[in-house]
Symmetry: C2
Subunit: 393 residues, 2 copies
C-alpha cells in the first residue's frame, strides 16, 4: 500500500449510527460541482434558496434562518453565545449527554447557569420546568428535542408556553430530529433552534442550520456586550446572508452545495411523507429487535424514531458485536455515551439511511452475530416481525 | 426555471480572486466519496495521514497540528482564544484588513490588546516590533504573513526572534500563503499558525489547518481558565485527533476527504516545485499587467506571489470591469477591502488556479475590457510580456 493511498481505499459502509447518516447519491454528486466565489451572484441566489428551504424544514417564518459554517456543536455554541451575556440567568434541562454539553458551553458564555435534571432516557414535563422557573426566573431555557445519547424525544410546545409565561426565551437542540421528526418552530413558539446537517437531512457534517425568532433577535440586537465569538456572531453573519451581503467569512461553498441538494430532496419528498417514513422504518426496527428478544431503552411514549436505543443483553460484548457488524457486514451502529457506555447500542435510521431494506439488513446481521455471544436468536424472527410491521403500516 | 433548480445551473468560473481558488478535479471527486463514521478505523487512519501531510506543508514537527472544523476565520479565532486569557497582554501588528480582524477577535477574547500599525501594503521591520515590546512586553504577538487585503508578504523569522527575546509567543496567519509560498514554522520559530483550505491548497473552504509549538501548547495547558469557545478548544479537539480518540464534535468527513486529497497533490508536486510555480506565474502576471500600463500596489521586495494587487487606473469603473470579467469571460477577480475599495483589484493565482494559461486568459480578457473604460491597451502586449516571462523562467 502506498504511503498516502487514494480515497478509493475507504470502505463502503452502511451508516446506522447516530450520524453521519448515509448521504444520498445526489448530494454526493452535488459536492463535486466546481466552485464559484462566495460573493458570486450565482452563489448569493443559492443562499437565498437555501434559506427558503431551511425555513420550510424548520416550519418557521423567521427571517434569521441560515446555516452556520461548522458542525452541529458550532450551532449549539452559536445559539448559546449569541443569546447569553455575562451574568444572564440560564436554565438548562439536562437528561443526556448533549444537555450536559449545553451546560458546559453556557458556563463558558459566562451565564449564571442552573441545571434542571432528569434521568437519562426520560423527558421533562411542563410542570418541572415551571417549578424551576417559579423558584428563580431565567432569561433563557435550553433543552434538547431529540437526545442523541438516549433516544428520547422531548415534547416542546407546552414547555415553550411555560418559558414565555416566565419571561424566558426557549432554545431547542434539534440536531437529531430536524428533517426526520416534526419540528414546528413557529407553532410551538421556539425562540432559537439549531441542528446539524449529517443526521435526518442526510448531508455530510459541516454545517449547522440555525433559526432565531424575532424575540431572540431582539435579545441579540439589545446586547450590552459583543458576542464573545466573532466567528459565530449572528449579527455579523446575518449581514452576509441577508440583504447587505457584507463579507464576514468565506462560506464553505461545497458544503452549501450539499445542503442545498439535501434540502431539495426533503422538499421533493415532502415533510409529512418524510416523517411517516422515519416513523414506519423505526417501528419495523423496534418490532424486529423485540422479536429477537432485545429490549428498547426508551418507553414507546417518548421514543425517538430517528435514533433507537437498545439494551445490550447481559453477557454480550458491546465492542465485539459492533466490531463484527462493521468488519464483517460493513454496518456502523454506535455504543452508549457517558453512563450508558456498554449498556446500550444506538441505531440511527436517519434521512437516506431510513429504509426498510436497511432495517432488514441490520436485523439479519445481528441475528448472525448475537448467537456467537451466547444470546440465542430464532432464525428469521426479527426480519419476519419487521417485514410484517412494514406491510401493516 | 424550476423553483429550486439543480446545481447544474451553477456557472463554471475561473477563480482568480482572493479565494476560493479553483479546486483540482481530483479534490472535487474526493468529496463524492461515500462517508464513513467519524470514529471508523478507516477515518481515524485518514486523520493520522492528514496530520502528517499537514506537518509537511507547515514544515513543522509540532504534534498539535490538525484541521479546525471551520473556515480560515475559525482558525484565527481558535488560535487567539486558545492562547489569550482575560487580561493577557497582546500585541497585534496591523497592516491590512485581516490584522484588524485579529485585533477585533483578540478584544473579544478579553486580552489587553495593543495595536502596532503600518500603512496598508507595507510590512513590519523587526525593529518596529522590538520597539513596541520594549515599551511594554506582551505574552503574544500576532501578525499576518500574507495580507489578503493588500498583497504584502511579511518576513517573519527575525520578528519571531524578537518576540521570543521579549518572552512573547508569535502567532502567524498564513491563510493566503500556506502551500503556495514558503511557510517554515519550525525554522522561523513560529509558535502558532493557522491557515485556510481554499487558497493555495486549492481545497474548498471549510477547514482551517492549525499548528501549535510545544511552547504554545504549554501556554494552553497552563491556562487558569477554560477556553471561552468549547467548539474551538484545542485541548478537547486534540483528544479526538490524538491518541485518545475521545469524541468531541462530528468531524466534517467530506471536507476532510477533500483536504486529504489536496494535501496528496501538494505532496506529489513537492513544496519546492509548488512554490516555484506560484512565483513563476505571478511573475508572468506582473510582467503582463505592467506591459499593459497597469501598476502594482505592493513594491516587488515584499510582493506576495499568491495574491497580486493592481491599482485601478483613474477613470476606470471597478465594479463594471469586474462584472464584465465575470459575466462575459467567467473570470472572478476581486475588488479592494476597506480603504482600498475602488482603488485596487485583487488577483489570486493560488494552488490549482496558478497556471500560465490562466495568466494569459486573464490578461486577454482585461485587454478586451479596459479599452471600453477609456484605458487604451496595445493589443497583445500583456500576453506577450507574460509569455516571455514564462519562457525565461
Amino acid at each position: 500500500m502506498p504511503e498516502y493511498p487514494a480515497l478509493t481505499s475507504i470502505p463502503r459502509r452502511l451508516l446506522l449510527g447516530p450520524g453521519p447518516s448515509d448521504v444520498h447519491p445526489r448530494v454526493l454528486a452535488a459536492m463535486s460541482t466546481p466552485l464559484v466565489g462566495h460573493l458570486d451572484p450565482a452563489f448569493l441566489e443559492l443562499m437565498n434558496r437555501t434559506r427558503e428551504l431551511l425555513r420550510a424544514v424548520f416550519q418557521t417564518q423567521n427571517e434569521l434562518t441560515l446555516p452556520i459554517a461548522g458542525t452541529g456543536s458550532a450551532g449549539m455554541e452559536a445559539a448559546l453565545c449569541n443569546l447569553i451575556e455575562e451574568g444572564d440567568e440560564v436554565l438548562i434541562a439536562i437528561n443526556g449527554y448533549f444537555g450536559e454539553r449545553m451546560y458546559e458551553m453556557a458556563l463558558r458564555c459566562r451565564g449564571n447557569v442552573r441545571r434542571l435534571e432528569a434521568p437519562w432516557g426520560q423527558v421533562f414535563s411542563p410542570e418541572q420546568v415551571e417549578a424551576a422557573l417559579r423558584e428563580r426566573p431565567a432569561r433563557l431555557v435550553a433543552m434538547v428535542h431529540a437526545e442523541t445519547s438516549t433516544g428520547a424525544l422531548q415534547p416542546v410546545e407546552e414547555i415553550a408556553q411555560v418559558a414565555h409565561r416566565y419571561g424566558a426565551l426557549l432554545l431547542l437542540d434539534t440536531v437529531t430530529s430536524l428533517g426526520g421528526v416534526p419540528v414546528e418552530i413557529d407553532r410551538w413558539g421556539v425562540d432559537a433552534c439549531y441542528s446539524g446537517t449529517q443526521k435526518c437531512l442526510s448531508c455530510p457534517p459541516g454545517l449547522a442550520p440555525i433559526t432565531l425568532s424575532p424575540a431572540a433577535r431582539e435579545k441579540l440586537n439589545r446586547r450590552r456586550t459583543k458576542v464573545q465569538s466573532w466567528y459565530l456572531d449572528l449579527s455579523l453573519i446575518e449581514k452576509y446572508w441577508g440583504q447587505e451581503r457584507i463579507y464576514h467569512h468565506t462560506a464553505p461553498i461545497s458544503m452549501n452545495y450539499a445542503l442545498y441538494e439535501a434540502l431539495r430532496l426533503v422538499h421533493e419528498e415532502g415533510l409529512a411523507a418524510r416523517f411517516a417514513r422515519h416513523q414506519r422504518n423505526a417501528g419495523a426496527l423496534w418490532a424486529g429487535l423485540e422479536a429477537m428478544g432485545l429490549s428498547l431503552f426508551v418507553p414507546r411514549s417518548h421514543r425517538l424514531p430517528s435514533l433507537s436505543t437498545v439494551r445490550i443483553p447481559e453477557g454480550v460484548n458491546d465492542a465485539r458485536v459492533r466490531g463484527r457488524l462493521l468488519n464483517d457486514f460493513n454496518i456502523e451502529i454506535s455504543g452508549g455515551l457517558g453512563d450508558l457506555k456498554g449498556k446500550i447500542w444506538r441505531i440511527g435510521l436517519m434521512g437516506h439511511s431510513s429504509s426498510g431494506d436497511n432495517v432488514l439488513r441490520l436485523l439479519t446481521a445481528l441475528e448472525r452475530v448475537l448467537p456467537d455471544e451466547g444470546f440465542p436468536v430464532t432464525p428469521g424472527a426479527g426480519a419476519e416481525a419487521a417485514a410484517q410491521a412494514l406491510r401493516q403500516d
